[in-house]
């Protein structure tokens, strides 16, 4: 059983870590969530079909990441209240910093940096559905299963999430950075 578990972990650990990293924007938190999720996988391993493990991990990883974010927000809110009296600090303050690729252009890296920051600013359920849809490349049916939502609801969330993400990205980059002018309806 340990051998089968090891095989499952080898196949899925990067997926779990990647989701947690892009969701939380922190290596440390992503490592904690990954370990927590794989621990749960071991505890439930005997009752799971091997083929069902990826679907199970989609749900558990998302929930563990969400729980971690919620705890973090609560924690930061108390800290902020104690020190400055201001409101809660957004998770976006911990913008991810992936390993730089020397082949990437400065502009591309800058864009990706802001994209991840904007992603980390998204509220739920948009962050989850966008990560599952665009980064994990899951089908709507698989996302609906992971989040226990109707497919049409997932589609609505994905479409709305993309729009909100684009707006956040515009704010980060500035209007001139992507050439968008004020939209004038021509028809």
């Amino acid at each position: 059983m340990v051998e089968r578990f090891q095989r499952a972990v080898e196949e899925q650990k990067d997926m779990v870590y990647s989701f947690a990293y892009y969701y939380l924007g922190s290596r440390e938190d992503a490592e904690d969530v990954t370990q927590e999720v794989l621990m749960k996988l071991w505890q439930h391993f005997r009752e799971l079909d091997f083929d069902a493990i990826p679907r199970w991990l989609n749900r558990v990883t998302r929930n563990a990441s969400y729980d971690r974010l919620r705890r973090f927000r609560v924690q930061r809110r108390f800290i902020a209240a104690d020190t400055t009296g201001e409101g809660e600090t957004r998770a976006a303050d911990r913008t991810p910093c992936p390993e730089p690729d020397p082949q990437e252009t400065v502009e591309r890296k800058d864009f990706r940096h802001h994209l991840q920051g904007a992603l980390a600013e998204l509220a739920e359920p948009y962050r989850s559905v966008l990560l599952l849809r665009e980064v994990r490349d899951l089908k709507y049916r698989e996302i609906a299963e992971a989040l226990e939502l109707p497919i049409n609801t997932v589609k609505t969330h994905v479409h709305r999430g993309r729009k909100v993400l684009r707006e956040r990205l515009r704010e980060r980059l500035g209007e001139s950075a992507y050439g968008q002018e004020k939209h004038v309806c021509v028809r």
Partner: protein, 201 residues
């Protein structure tokens, strides 16, 4: 004007996401393309939406740090894991050590549990070492009662630590590996009549 050119901006903008997903009817997709060809603002929005989506999809999968994998597998292959037979369920395995925010791994229940067990074993070892070899010592009833009382206090302490740590430790494991051996050894010294059972805990 052809119907496919009848899209207003609001119609086009509403359909961008479905268009990018390839879920628009062919006639609607054509209408949206015709509209964006004639409307620079909508064409810009479509290009922007396409780029953001492509960049999202290009976010690279990240490699899980080896330390995470190592600690998970170490716990899975620990003394309570069972290899391939599945004779013992994974649920009986004690929880994995958790990581602090600074990255340090710790397991308070394990440390406290080990400390308590060490105290019990140290007391027992001391009693064994100090035992006269021959003739067999004769203890008074008061001494036996005191020894039994101390042993019960030690086991109660062990149980309290378990409860405070918030982890369920399998009773049979506790009896077999922690309580049983010292109690059996103690019984050889003071000739206690009973074996360790779950009811004694």
């Amino acid at each position: 004007m052809d119907k496919k050119n009848m899209f207003a901006c609001v119609d086009a903008l509403e359909r961008i996401e479905a268009y990018l997903d390839g879920e628009l009817e062919a006639t609607e997709a054509t209408a949206l393309e015709h509209h964006s060809n004639a409307c620079p603002a909508c064409a810009e929005e479509l290009a922007w939406a396409r780029r953001v989506r492509q960049e999202l999809r290009a976010l690279p999968p990240l490699e899980c740090p080896p330390g995470v994998m190592d600690s998970v597998m170490a716990a899975a292959a620990g003394p309570t894991a069972t290899g391939t037979t599945g004779a013992k369920a994974p649920e009986s395995v004690l929880p994995f050590p958790q990581r602090t925010r600074s990255g340090q791994r710790f397991a308070p229940w394990a440390l406290r549990f080990a400390a308590a067990a060490a105290v019990v074993l140290a007391v027992l070892a001391g009693a064994l070492l100090l035992r006269p070899t021959a003739p067999r010592p004769q203890y008074t009833a008061a001494e036996l009662a005191q020894a039994e009382k101390e042993a019960r206090l030690a086991f109660a302490y062990l149980s309290t630590i378990q409860r405070r740590a918030g982890h369920k430790i399998q009773q049979d494991v506790l009896v077999k590996h922690v309580v049983g051996p010292p109690q059996q050894a103690l019984s050889r010294i003071v000739e206690l009549p009973q074996e360790a059972t779950e009811e004694n805990l």
